[in-house]
């Protein structure tokens, strides 16, 4: 079913393409929403990504899953856009993630269990915290913890080795946790 839709889409049939993406639309939009951090950008980016996918569907090779391929386009589209805006939006963990080792990040908050006691605030600030992650960290966390993909699938979507997925995820979660703590402390 999906493959016939893909073939028709390759020939330029818009309605087949729409049928093909209808079940992914919501995930595409949500990935874009988490990557971009607001609804407006999420809508623009997800639509741009879907249009890109429509234009490039001729290059889609059946060997990988369609959703994998589609999400890769979405994430890359968002990352490109975020890179363009880099001058305005600075990420909090970028410097940490790039230059510091794991110990530097986690050294200071041993036995400081405030997170567990701040459940309600946590939910509210989680979104902000996500936005403060670097683009690469964000995409791993979104795919793993929000969408529930396996390491292998994430590696395929982001086109990085599984070892990198694993280490990037470790680092991102730790960063996310420290950002959350900083945000809670500020409140």
């Amino acid at each position: 079913m999906e493959s016939t839709l893909i073939e028709k889409s390759i020939q330029g049939d818009v309605s087949s393409f729409e049928k093909l993406i209808v079940k992914y639309n919501r995930y595409v939009y949500n990935i874009a929403y988490r990557m971009m951090g607001n609804e407006e950008d999420a809508k623009d980016m997800s639509q741009e990504a879907l249009i890109k996918a429509y234009k490039a569907i001729g290059q889609f090779k059946m060997e990988s899953g369609f959703s994998t391929w589609l999400y890769r386009i979405v994430i890359n589209t968002c990352k490109d856009e975020l890179r363009k805006r880099k001058e305005q939006v600075l990420s909090l963990d970028e410097a940490i993630a790039d230059n510091a080792s794991l110990q530097d990040i986690i050294s200071d908050d041993k036995a400081n269990p405030i997170l567990i006691y701040e459940q309600i605030e946590l939910k509210a600030t989680l979104n902000d915290a996500l936005n403060n992650l670097s683009d690469d960290s964000k995409s791993v966390v979104i795919l793993k913890d929000l969408m529930g993909y396996s390491y292998e699938e994430i590696g395929e979507i982001l086109q990085i080795p599984i070892g990198t997925v694993r280490s990037r995820l470790n680092r991102s979660r730790t960063s996310l946790k420290s950002i959350l703590k900083i945000q809670l402390a500020e409140q």
Binding site: Y29, K123, K177
Partner: protein, 429 residues
Amino acid sequence: MNCEQARILMNAAIDGDINEHERSKLDQHIDSCEACTVEFEELKYVVQMLGEMELKALPIGFEEELHEKLMNVKHDSEPVKTGNTLLKKIRNIHIKKRYYGYVATAAVLLMVVVIGKNILFQPKYESAMINTESSEEYGRGSDGDMGKLSFNESVALAEAPASTAEFEMSNQQLDSSYGVTGFAETPQSTPTNGDYREDRLIIQTANLRMDVEKYDEVYLQLTIWVKAAGGYVENESTSYKTNYTERENLKYGYMTLRVPATGYESMINQIKSLGNVTYDSANAYDVTKNYRDTASEVENLKVTEERLREIMTDAVEIKDILAIENELTRIRGQINSYERQLKDWEALADMTTITVELNEVKSLKPMIEPIDDTLFGKAKEGFIHTINSIKLTVEQVFIWLVSKSPILAILGLLAILAKIVYTKKRRKS
């Protein structure tokens, strides 16, 4: 196990990516280390929270908006499809980085040779291109200029007024001295606002490829007919076929004709009678629906505009006036762009586009030459010709090399310098 190792295992444990042995080691460590217990709980908690984040619903109108954009993309991409894929193919030819230098050098050398050859050696093959874009100059040019072209003098002179006329016609500056009548009533009437066509709008195009015996006569005949029908030549080009011998100067060219849709059928039949048709295709594209949709869209927008103007008269505050003005400008812009589209369609439907490719042949009758000594004679002639051209080329290359040796020396020096800089850079990096 130390805390650092434990922390790496924690993530694995949360994702279920851990074996029994590692798990028990991690549990042991966590039992004995308070900091890691907290860390593990926090980490689990964050991941759990992330998992609980709700999926957002698609915004209202998301799919409709997307559909519109996709349709736009579809229309935009259709005409350039072939160019695009070709470009992609070229891009897909991967050249390994370390070959860049060689490829670049080869390309530069090739360019130098080609340019040098063009400058130094008079090419035997000349072509003359006449496009409407350039025909202004061509028309203004003196007879002497035209003489330079390798066309027969008579042809060039015959063509000159014709092409001038065409050009001026297409610019709507009708000059009566050319005796062109009937063109004044070109059906490019611009519709007044709110006045739309009721009948079907069909954009017709036709492509013809023909073998003809006498290129120049056919060419003239075509221009005369087109003018008589009230049309014009949009584009044309003529060149000699790639002939290395100067014995037969056969021509090849194409013309894009715009003729009123009413005279289209008879025009096609007339053209076909001029030679042997080798290819014939026609296409009709019905834009009636699109046209009507757009027209009603314009009407709607105009109603909105009218209402905004009414509101404008009542508006007092500067803020409101500015807001309304903005909206008015936006709507006016939309109306204009739709109307332009409508006019384009009308113009395309009024004037049919016929593309004629003309291929001059010696004779239209199929011809089988007797196999006799002329075959060997031709072979001999060809052989001598080839030998001569090889000799000539070698001579010319030699002369070129000697005469250009100073430049070549400089180029060589530059190449060596570039190579040194390149290798140094690579070594550094």
